[in-house]
C-alpha cells in the first residue's frame, strides 16, 4: 500500500445563504483506506460529498485527488479522473435494464460496446446481480438497486469510491452482505472508499479510520473504537448531559 494520499482536503468551506454547511474541514486519506464519515443529520456530510464529487464548488479551500486539483472541476471530469460516487437516494436508470445501467458506467473506460458489455457483466457477477441482467432497473428491490448503484460506479474503474448511506433501508442481513462486498472490493482492487453511514455496525466493520462531523465541522477523527467512546461524539448524537447518563 503506497503512502500516496488519494484524497487531500484543505480548509474546505461552503456556505448556503449565510449558513456554513461545511466549515474549514481538512483531512488526508491514503490509498486503500476506507474512511467512515459519520455525524448527526444536518452535519454537512452530503454537502461535503457533493463538494468532493464536483456537484458544488467550495467557497474556500482545496481538494486534491492524487496530484489533481479537483475542487473546480465538473462532476463528469472528476468521474473521469477516477472518482466514483453513489447517491443517498438511489438513482438507477429506471427505464433501462440492470446490464445497460452498468454498461453506461463501463463505457467511460471501454469505448467499444462489446468490451463495455463484458466488463459490465463481470461487475454484475461480482455484486451478484448477474441473474437480474435483463430486468428493468425499476423492477429491482431496494437492496438490489443499492448494489446496482455500486456496480455502476464501479464499472467506471474508480480508484476512489464515495458511498452515500449505501446501507440505508437495508435489513441487518443485507447490511452484512453489502459490507462483505465492499470489504472484498477493497481487498481485491485496493479501492479507496469514503463511506457516509448511520448504521454503526457497518461503520465499525468497514472503516480503518473515522471522521465525525457536526454543524459542518470536524469534531473528531480516529480509529472506530476510539471514536465511539469519544465523549464529544457521544454528545453530538445524544445531546449534552448524555455522557453523565450512560456508562462510557
Amino acid at each position: 500500500m503506497s503512502f500516496n494520499p488519494v484524497l487531500r482536503v484543505e480548509n474546505l468551506s461552503k456556505s448556503f445563504q449565510g449558513l456554513k454547511a461545511v466549515n474549514n474541514i481538512s483531512f488526508r486519506m491514503r490509498e486503500g483506506e476506507i474512511v467512515g464519515l459519520i455525524g448527526p443529520n444536518g452535519a454537512g456530510k452530503t454537502t461535503f460529498f457533493n463538494l468532493l464529487a464536483g456537484a458544488i464548488t467550495p467557497d474556500t479551500g482545496k481538494i486534491y485527488y492524487f496530484d489533481h486539483e479537483i475542487h473546480n472541476l465538473k462532476p463528469h471530469e472528476i468521474s473521469r479522473l477516477g472518482v466514483g460516487r453513489t447517491f443517498q437516494i438511489v438513482k438507477p436508470f429506471k427505464g433501462l435494464t440492470t446490464l445497460d445501467n452498468v454498461i453506461i458506467g463501463a463505457l467511460q473506460q471501454h469505448k467499444r460496446l462489446n468490451k463495455a458489455q463484458k466488463h459490465a457483466r463481470d461487475i454484475l457477477k461480482m455484486l451478484e446481480l448477474d441473474r437480474k441482467s435483463h430486468v428493468l432497473a425499476e423492477h429491482l428491490t431496494l437492496p438490489e438497486r443499492k448494489r446496482l448503484e455500486v456496480a455502476r460506479a464501479l464499472a467506471t474503474n474508480p480508484k476512489l469510491l464515495l458511498l452515500d448511506e449505501v446501507m440505508a433501508g437495508l435489513r441487518p442481513n443485507e447490511v452484512e452482505v453489502m459490507v462483505d462486498v465492499l470489504l472484498s472490493l477493497n481487498k481485491q482492487l485496493g479501492l479507496s472508499m469514503v463511506v457516509i453511514e448511520h448504521v454503526m455496525r457497518a461503520v465499525m466493520r468497514l472503516s480503518n479510520h473515522v471522521i465525525v462531523l457536526n454543524h459542518g465541522e470536524k469534531i473528531a477523527e480516529g480509529k472506530p473504537e476510539t471514536i465511539t467512546r469519544d465523549p464529544r461524539v457521544i454528545e453530538c448524537y445524544l445531546g449534552e448531559g448524555a455522557i453523565h447518563g450512560c456508562a462510557a
Binding site: P75, H76, P92, G95, I103, I104, H134
Partner: protein
C-alpha cells in the same frame, strides 16, 4: 420468426400498395410519412436529450427554404443543398442548445427560446426577397409524369418512395445510434442527468449533439417536402402550428421510443384528413377541423395516456409474440430469449 414475417409483409405492402391507391390517399400517406420523419427527428431532442422544442418549424423551414431557394435562384441540385441545410440547421440547433446550457435557460424559458427563434425566422424570411418574401417561393413544376429523382422533381408517387425510404433510413439510423456509446449516453441523459454526470458523461456535449442531429435531420425533412409541395410561405412554413404538428406524432405515439413517433404520425394524419374529408362530404367547409382534432388528441393522450399509445400497446404485442414462441419452442422460454425480448423492447 413471426416477427420477421410480419416485418416482411409490412415492407411488401408499403412498397406495392401505393401503386394501387388513388392520388388523394397517396397524398395523405406522403403527408403521414413526412410527419413521421420530422416527428422522429423531434423525438431525438425531446425523448433522448430531454429538451422541449416548441419551435422545430425553424429547422424544417430552414431546410425547405434553403433547398428551394438555391434551386430556384442558382439551379443548385437539392441533394447538394441537403448537405448544406443539414449542417446549417445542426449548427443552429447546437447554438440554441449551447445558449440554453450556458445561460441556464431551462423549462418554460427554454421552450420560449425555441418559439422566439422560430417566430423570428418567420418574420425575417417574410422580408427576404431572395427567398420570395411574403409572396412566397415557388418551384417550377413541369406537368407530366416525371421521375427525376436526381433533381427531386417528379410525380407524387416518386415522393412517396422518397419519404418511405427516408423514414425507414432514419429509424434504422436511430436504432443503430442507440446501440452506440453515444446512444447509451443519450438514454442516460434522459433517465437521470445527475447520475449520468457522476458516470463521466459530459451533459453539454451530449445535449448539443442530440439537438444538432435533431435540427439537421428535421431540415432534411423540410427540404424534401418543399420539393414535393412546390410552394413555400414564411407565415405558413415557420408558423407555430407547424411546430405543434411536428410534435403531435411523438407525443401521441410515445416520446422516447423508436416506434412511437411513427405510430403517432401514421395514426393522426390520416384521421385528421379523414375528418376534413368527411365534413367535405356533408358539405361543410370548416378550416381548422383537422387541427382541432389534433389538439384534442394531444390533450386526451396527455391527460390519460401520458406515455403515449405505443408504450401502452407494446406490452400486449410483445406478449403476443412471446406467447406464440412459447407454443412453438420445446421446453421453457429460456431467460436468454425473454431477456432478448426485453432488451429489444427497450430499444424499440
Amino acid at each position: 420468426m413471426n416477427r420477421i414475417v410480419f416485418i416482411a409483409i409490412g415492407i411488401l405492402v408499403s412498397l406495392l400498395a401505393p401503386l394501387f391507391l388513388d392520388k388523394y390517399v397517396l397524398s395523405i400517406l406522403i403527408l403521414s410519412l413526412y410527419f413521421a420523419f420530422v416527428g422522429q427527428a423531434w423525438n431525438l431532442m425531446m425523448g433522448f436529450a430531454g429538451q422541449l422544442s416548441l419551435g422545430h418549424a425553424l429547422y424544417v423551414g430552414l431546410g425547405a427554404y434553403l433547398g428551394a431557394g438555391f434551386f430556384v435562384q442558382f439551379g443548385l441540385n437539392p441533394w447538394l443543398t441537403i448537405i448544406f441545410a443539414f449542417c446549417a440547421s445542426a449548427v443552429l440547433g447546437a447554438f440554441i442548445a449551447w445558449l440554453g446550457f450556458r445561460f441556464a435557460i431551462k423549462g418554460v424559458h427554454f421552450a420560449l427560446l425555441t418559439i422566439a427563434f422560430a417566430e423570428s425566422a418567420r418574420l425575417i424570411f417574410d422580408h427576404l426577397d431572395f427567398f420570395g418574401g411574403t409572396g412566397g417561393l415557388f418551384l417550377p413544376v413541369k406537368g407530366g409524369e416525371d421521375w427525376n429523382f436526381l433533381q427531386l422533381r417528379g410525380q407524387p408517387l416518386m415522393f412517396y418512395y422518397v419519404f418511405l425510404g427516408a423514414t425507414a433510413a432514419l429509424c434504422l439510423f436511430i436504432r443503430s445510434l442507440l446501440k452506440t456509446r453515444f446512444g447509451y449516453y443519450m438514454m442516460a441523459l434522459r433517465e437521470d442527468q445527475e447520475a449520468a454526470q457522476s458516470l463521466g458523461i459530459d451533459l453539454l456535449r451530449v445535449k448539443i449533439i442530440a439537438v444538432a442531429l435533431s435540427g439537421g435531420i428535421a431540415s432534411i425533412g423540410g427540404l424534401l417536402f418543399a420539393f414535393y409541395q412546390n410552394s413555400l410561405f414564411p407565415d405558413h412554413t415557420f408558423a407555430m402550428a407547424r411546430s405543434i404538428e411536428f410534435l403531435m406524432g411523438p407525443i401521441v405515439g410515445g416520446v422516447g421510443t423508436l416506434v412511437g413517433p411513427i405510430v403517432g404520425a401514421l395514426l393522426l394524419t390520416p384521421l385528421g384528413e379523414a375528418m376534413t374529408a368527411l365534413l367535405d362530404l356533408v358539405g361543410l367547409d370548416l378550416p381548422g377541423t383537422k387541427h382541432l382534432f389534433y389538439g384534442l388528441s394531444m390533450l386526451l393522450i396527455m391527460l390519460y395516456l401520458p406515455k403515449g399509445i405505443w408504450p401502452f400497446f407494446e406490452g400486449y404485442i410483445t406478449r403476443l409474440f412471446s406467447e406464440k414462441k412459447k407454443n412453438n419452442s420445446h421446453g421453457d422460454a429460456s431467460r436468454g430469449d425473454k431477456g432478448k425480448k426485453e432488451l429489444a423492447a427497450r430499444v424499440v
